[in-house]
């Protein structure tokens, strides 16, 4: 199994190091091959909402920076882990730039989800399982709830874990299936 781990170089705190080490240990026990990317401030351009990835170079961002490699590695993996600093209840700026620029992996059209809301249909038949692991110092409960809502409320096939300690992370990951998923995200 191939796991891809994306993290934020700006928030390499003590808490992050504990989280990363616990995750890598878990993946090693599962005999996973692991690829890693750490994104620093200014390394990725922000998504400019130009939609070139839909109507000029479909499936690929027209901006040539490390996002092409990040998206390729993610799409080739069985599971992608995002180690997300939680800021104001959402992803930190660097991680949000990674997530915003996931857009090429979806199609431009609109479809209705089972709950009646709108979504973009998938471009691919299958996607890696995605796990967002949120962390932060002095997080309030409202931040954690909001982080879960942003991630889970509008998407299928994405798991969320809030980092507390290695034991809890192990328990949460133990119950997840790290297989590529088909259908709508």
């Amino acid at each position: 199994m191939l796991a891809y781990v994306v993290s934020d170089a700006e928030f390499q705190t003590e808490r992050f190091r504990s989280l990363e080490s616990a995750l890598l240990e878990f993946l090693s026990e599962k005999d996973c091959s692991v690829e890693r990317t750490s994104v620093a401030c200014g390394e990725l351009r922000n998504c400019a909402g130009c939609f070139g990835c839909w109507v000029k170079t479909p499936g690929e961002c027209i901006v040539r920076d490390p996002i092409a490699e990040i998206n390729r590695r993610s799409m080739q993996s069985d599971v992608t882990f995002y180690l997300c600093p939680i800021v104001f209840g959402q992803f930190s700026a660097n991680m949000k730039s990674v997530i915003d620029r996931w857009l090429p992996n979806m199609l431009p059209f609109f479809v209705t989800r089972p709950d009646g809301s709108t979504m973009h249909p998938p471009r691919y038949d299958s996607y890696p399982a995605q796990v967002m692991i949120g962390y932060g110092d002095d997080l309030e409960n409202e931040d954690k709830v909001l982080f879960r809502d942003i991630t889970k409320k509008h998407r299928n096939g994405v798991e969320v874990v809030i980092w507390h300690n290695a034991e809890e992370l192990g328990r949460a990951l133990h119950d997840m299936r790290f297989e590529r998923i088909g259908g709508s995200l």
Partner: protein, 230 residues
């Protein structure tokens, strides 16, 4: 006795390049016109331009010295765009370092989404509320706009009047709230285009195919899978 002049900073936070059609900037123009008056001085910054011109700090200073902040932005993946997060994350650090000088008392937000439903913006509004807590300001209310993709081309269409009336009414409410400095709670404002959902989807699909064709792409190229796993 006249109340003292209040100041509000409008933050236009679309990552789209200047000169391109942009819903958030259109709403920012409308807000500046509607909120500015004898009692409220409006200052305005474009986040993308601040980064391009390295003028973030003067915007931060203006925000710190304002009574109110109004952030207008498009929804990106169910929350704030990365560009706006960078700006607010760094402002939060700046504001903490200059806490004693801060006048910022209250925050408002407008989020627009290309999907028809306005509710999809709710989490983004909650993020702005969490940001407000971090800079010790009160989040007053949000304006949640659905069907943003239609707003630019239909500003004067009669069927869109209720849609725009809800938005301009909310701008008036911001002006009154900044003047009164009331602490009474205010509910969020939701607005959606009164337009058939199926037709909206159909027109969107035709639009994407048409644009791709203009770019020299055949219809099926829209579904390319460059990162497909073997």
């Amino acid at each position: 006795m006249n109340s003292p002049l209040k100041t509000i900073t409008l933050l236009s936070a679309s990552p789209k390049g200047t000169g391109l059609p942009c819903v958030s900037r259109m709403f920012c123009d409308m807000a500046a016109e509607r909120i500015g008056c004898e009692e409220v001085c409006v200052r305005r910054f474009d986040v993308r331009a601040c980064f391009a011109e390295n003028t973030e700090e003067s915007a931060y200073r203006a925000m710190l010295e304002s009574d109110a902040l109004f952030v207008l932005f498009p929804l990106y993946f169910f929350c704030l765009p990365g560009m706006l997060m960078r700006f607010l994350q760094d402002y939060s650090v700046f504001a903490k370092a200059h806490a004693a000088e801060s006048r910022l008392n209250r925050v408002y937000a407008l989020v627009n989404c290309g999907f028809p439903e306005a509710e999809i913006n709710e989490e983004a509004i909650r993020v702005v509320a969490r940001f407000s807590v971090s800079v010790q300001a009160a989040f007053r209310f949000g304006i949640l706009v659905g069907g943003g993709g239609m707003a630019l081309g239909t500003k004067d269409a009669p069927f869109m009047k209720p849609y725009f009336d809800a938005i301009t009414g909310a701008f008036d409410r911001i002006r009154s709230d900044v003047v009164s400095f009331s602490e009474a709670p205010l509910a969020n404002v939701y607005t959606e285009a009164n337009f058939p959902r199926k037709l909206y989807f159909l027109m969107g699909g035709i639009g994407w195919k048409h644009t791709a064709k203009k770019n020299g792409l055949p219809k099926k190229a829209l579904r390319r899978q460059p990162y497909k796993r073997d």
